[in-house]
Subunit: 296 residues, 2 copies
């Protein structure tokens, strides 16, 4: 696929928050689409997208928005991707490609596919990049630069459609990995969903302390706590949906985590310093490997 | 106390790793001491301190190192502060001030005080600043700039000694807070010790996965996990000591955390999205307060 020039005549974004607006900015910047339409339930977000210049027009009407679209990118919270697909599917033209950016894959594939007519190609995708901010103003074209993009196309997905979606993301600077949706959901449960759950929990535990103690926790947060608060400031609706839609994998990895935590708790109670030191030395190595993998 | 000029004729650092070398650099830079001696069990660290220029001389002999010192700063791992004090105490001169930088306070006060002769003043301190790196090369003079320094002097501690230690840290850029050692240990259990324990646990859980899955976790760590690996790369010996020496407060806050995590686990299992969203919205607020408190 060529390195620049138009990839799709018309691209429509459904949901134009952090991720949607970042990709739209990149598509604009790389000239990959002749025309960008955005559709969002939030009028202010639609207006902002046009004002900021990365959308050519905007609409609250799902069917009108996807009319003539060669590519439709669903960028809503994970729990409503299916509803969005149900709303726009009747407007899709034959041969259109639909993709998404959702943080869980099995449930979105299930929710979206059932609404798509024959002759439309669905290429599920997930960019491993983000921030704790939301909305169209939080986005920026470089968000995906040097980051991974995981594609999870079900067996039999049209190869040309996969290649075109792949190129779109490569132009945004992403490296591409293809994997099975179930495997994706397990890997992400470990690298992303459990860390977020833990961060939300610990910040919640602190929030439940009396007001005076809480103020001190905020004051002295530089000693570790504040790193968790950044993660725990992520979008509540998106994360609610992630946990509800990747329940099995999250509960499985959470069970392992709880066992490991109980092991450390016991080591602390019984003063078993060697067990603590052994683990703390092992975890240091993983950090080095992440730095070597240039993901730090 | 004056803003610059010599505060102490001779200062001796016991342990010259990240924190000791950072403070020594600051003391040099601000001209707060006429002479700096370092004492460390690690010969390479002693040599490095002199080579890097923030120590005037170095010794492996604890008694010789503190001879004539007006201030002795203990910067060893928390678990050996008492041993270090036992080793150098016989060399202290009448009226000398001893301070430390340990991350736990009650146990260090207990371990150190018992060895100090009458006429020596002990002013326990804890800088709320650090990195995941260790050793004298990891230090830098600006580490404490704009960060908190907590003093936990027991009732009856000499006011002049407190004021001098306070000034030393103010010159390093720190803001000073005075609190009771027991309260310190509870606040830090929440803001620092529990976050580190959790981070060590989750990185350990990932390390126990099969090699293939582990490589994928490293690859896709940008989605949350990597922030935990930075914390879990902190010094194993120091952190072993922290948990062993602040056992009660850590176990108490860990118990609360576990209950809260179980509550979320149950909400995920039963699909109670409202409970998840309610918590995730609350935690977002704390982040804002930390940003407002300029601790982000
Ligand atoms: N944030 C990350 O770090 C990250 C990383 C990788 C992937 N993702 C995935 O990216 C997707 C979007 O996340 P985001 O962070 O960009 O969220 P966001 O900033 O909140 O944007 C979502 C946008 O979709 C709109 N919307 C909500 N329901 C809709 C519906 N039924 N139809 C049309 N528009 C709707 C929202 O409007 P309102 O604001 O009015 O609700 C908002 O404008 C999610 O699937 C998420 O899993 C996120
Ligand atoms: N790191 C942080 O983020 C942080 C923040 C606030 C407070 N603190 C506190 O600062 C203190 C030092 O931590 P750090 O991060 O600076 O550790 P570090 O970089 O490992 O430095 C500790 C130094 O003390 C030496 N040492 C070990 N045992 C000794 C002994 N018995 N006598 C003399 N020297 C000895 C070590 O030598 P070896 O390397 O050969 O063992 C090393 O040179 C700890 O009490 C910690 O609680 C740390």
């Amino acid at each position: 696929m060529s390195k620049d020039g138009i990839l799709f005549d018309r691209v429509t974004f459904i949901g134009i928050g952090l991720i949607g607006s970042s990709l739209a900015r990149s598509v604009k910047k790389t000239g990959s689409a002749a025309h960008i339409t955005v559709c969002d339930i939030n009028q202010a977000h639609r207006d902002k997208a046009v004002e900021l210049g990365f959308a050519d027009d905007a609409s609250g009407d799902f069917i009108a928005a996807v009319k003539d679209a060669d590519l439709v990118v669903i960028c809503t919270p994970p729990g409503v991707c299916g509803d969005a697909a149900a709303a726009f599917a009747p407007g899709l033209k034959e041969g259109a490609i639909v993709t998404d950016v959702g943080s869980v894959k099995q449930s979105i594939i299930h929710d979206v596919s059932q609404h798509l007519p024959d002759g439309v190609h669905f290429v599920p995708a997930h960019p491993i990049a983000g921030t704790e901010h939301s909305g169209p103003e939080a986005g920026f074209a470089e968000l995906f630069d040097g980051r991974w993009l995981i594609l999870t196309p079900p067996a039999g997905t049209d190869e040309t459609a996969i290649a075109k979606v792949r190129t779109l993301w490569e132009r945004a600077g992403s490296q591409i990995e293809i994997m099975d949706a179930q495997h994706h959901d397990m890997v992400l449960a470990i690298t992303s969903h459990l860390p977020h759950l833990i961060a939300y929990t610990i910040v919640g535990t602190a929030d439940d302390l009396g007001e005076h103690l809480k103020q001190e926790v905020i004051k002295f947060s530089a000693s570790g706590f504040r790193d968790f608060t950044r993660i725990a400031a992520s979008d509540p609706v998106m994360w609610r949906d992630v946990f509800l839609n990747n329940k099995e994998a999250v509960l499985e990895i959470l069970q392992r985590f709880s066992e490991d935590l109980t092991f450390l708790q016991r080591a602390i109670r019984w003063g078993e310093g060697d067990k603590l030191e052994e683990l703390f030395s092992r975890t240091r190595k993983i950090r080095r490997e992440i730095i070597e993998a240039k993901q730090a």
